[in-house]
Symmetry: C2
Subunit: 180 residues, 2 copies
DNA sequence: CAAAACGCGGACTTATAATATCCGCGTATG
DNA sequence: CATACGCGGATATTATAAGTCCGCGTTTTG
């Protein structure tokens, strides 16, 4: 239905919380703060680490932080890391199937890029060009310009209090305590 | 996997055969000529008629022809007619879900267009701009410049002979003759 | 006028991808 | 050594795309 789906949306929103935040933030914190599916987000972030956009710290108090300054991370880089460089169009080389060629399409018919594929490639290029011109810093700025000052303090407090409140969260695993 | 799928590809290739062809061509002819699924193509073309890009003639010897000169039909118009104005991205308004808002996001958080949605909209606009700049005539020209002259005659002959050869085609319906 | 060849559109099936969850492992912290 | 992480494989659940089938009305043609 759309080229870029919920994975990308979740990830982009999550990354905005990491801008200018030197402390690692866990995927669970990011998910619960934004009320998005935790297990799903946790599955997306390793892709960003492999792409070199995030740095992960393991173990207790671990989490993610940006690998580079936010103004050096383009939306295009994020999208490609999450969705895997999706193309606008998959050419199936219909031009060579014409029955007049009888299974043996001549060279003139299949050489170069298919005209239909060509216009799609140009459109894709225009799209990627636009995505490459916006950075996480740009996005974060547009959000912060709207928010009132007290909000950032509240957000910081929420992160600080996480280690305690997680204990009472709805998402709880039962190691070997589930027996009546 | 891609924003535009096989429907669009089949349709665009089919339309190229209608450029400068005043005689109506049936969907079955278009499908068999290009070796693409006939029932599927037959399902796409009515969309183009409703969009005003094609004119259909019913009954025996019926078929489709372009409603306008090929240089007035953009690839964008075709794609929108077939796929229904797909967007690059579906914003789910994640920004309003932040738990700090406690179910009641303040106005500053949800007013205007979401920054992430915004960059996607700009990219989509750039893509559509590019698709709108290419017409069916442009595509047809790039194909014809490659093909040798005799090819067009062969194609014309194939269409002319269709009414007879269809009789022996593999795709044959059995009205009430299927009894052992 | 009846058969044939069309377009039309709904119902249906299948294939594939997107979304989401679960579980066990290794690792760092305190 | 218990806890809270990241990691990754396996699995379930939808949703969408791709493809098929069938019955109806329309138009030509013999």
């Amino acid at each position: 239905m759309a080229l870029y789906g919920a994975s990308t949306e979740y990830v982009l929103h999550s990354l905005l919380w990491l801008v200018d935040n030197p402390e690692p933030v866990s995927s669970l914190d990011l998910a619960e703060l934004q009320d998005i599916p935790a297990a799903f987000v946790a599955k997306q972030l390793p892709k960003l680490e492999k792409a070199g956009l995030l740095i992960a710290s393991e173990g207790l108090r671990g989490g993610y932080r940006l690998a580079n300054p936010a103004d050096e991370i383009s939306v295009l880089a994020v999208v490609d890391a999450v969705e895997g460089r999706k193309s606008l169009f998959n050419c199936q080389e219909i031009r060579g199937r014409c029955v007049l060629f009888d299974q043996q399409p001549p060279r003139w018919a299949t050489q170069g890029v298919c005209g239909i594929h060509g216009v799609m490639l140009r459109a894709e290029q225009a799209m990627r060009q636009e995505l490459s011109q916006t950075s996480l810093a740009d996005l974060a700025r547009s959000v912060r310009d709207k928010a009132p000052s007290p909000f950032f303090g509240e957000a910081q407090s929420w992160f600080d209090g996480r280690v305690q409140t997680r204990r009472t969260s709805k998402v709880r695993q039962r190691k070997r305590s589930d027996v009546s």
